[in-house]
Amino acid sequence: MIRYFSLAGLLFAFWLALSGHYTPMLVTAGAVCAVACVFAAIRMRAADPEGHPIELFRGAITYFPWLFLEITKSGWSVTKVILDPSLPISPTMTVVRASQKTPAGMATYANSITLTPGTITVGVSGDEFTVHALVRDGADDLEGGGMDRRVSQFEGAA
């Protein structure tokens, strides 16, 4: 139930932010639309822990800054590889295990791998991700499991 109210509140806030006009008529229309969207989402079974993971919001406050820092670090190393005249790439395919328990947690891990420059999740089967890395070091880092632990911690923060 809290999930539905939070979804309605978020949708309404989104409407207000995008509209920028605050006449009573438009604000009421926004509220009605937000509630209608929640009913549609319930009917489509999209308002579940996967579609609207309110459990993850608290962990997201610290997770995203950490992820952006990781993106910047690996983005810089990929930049150095690209600008190096000898183009020192060593493409590597590897399989890493995801220790997350929920679909939203696993999707976060897979997307975080892809979002970090230099590594792409190319396939998922069960709890194993097939990962393509631009350089060997990227594959080594993922096999070390640092990011996996951080995502599991983010998932368990609720």
């Binding site: 995008l18 600008l83 790439i89 997307n111 892809t114 190319v122 998922v124 097939t130």
Partner: protein
């Protein structure tokens, strides 16, 4: 104060442009499709990120900044999905990635399926 904000904003926009250029440069230099995706991801994370940060400094506090941050969120959530779909499509088409090292077989028995790791449809 305004000058400091302007300077910071110019710095961030220049940095974003630099990473966008690096991504484009990598796109040309890389040998095949999978490695090219890595170059493109520099553009759509660091390039877009720094450009949008620089633009938020120009916009100041307000609805425009909020909309720019929505744009950044859109990139963060849809970018990886698109990249993943592209990689998956390439594997499914039977395009073999050029590999220096293949560790897929080291952690479990090697599969004969060309698009290894793909979820059964």
């Amino acid at each position: 104060m305004t000058l400091a904000v302007d300077l910071a904003s110019w710095g961030l926009i220049l940095l974003g442009s630099f990473f966008t250029l690096v991504g484009a440069f990598g796109l040309v230099r890389m040998p095949e499709v999978f490695t090219r995706m890595h170059a493109a991801s520099v553009t759509d994370t660091l390039g877009v990120g720094f450009l949008i940060l620089g633009m938020t400094l120009q916009a100041g506090f307000g609805l425009v900044t909020l909309k720019l941050l929505f744009l950044l969120a859109l990139f963060v959530f849809t970018g990886p999905v698109v990249t993943h779909a592209l990689a998956q499509a390439c594997l499914h088409e039977g395009i073999k990635p050029l590999l220096a090292e293949d560790r897929r077989g080291m952690t479990r028995p090697r599969s004969t399926d060309p698009d290894d790791g793909r979820q059964p449809s």
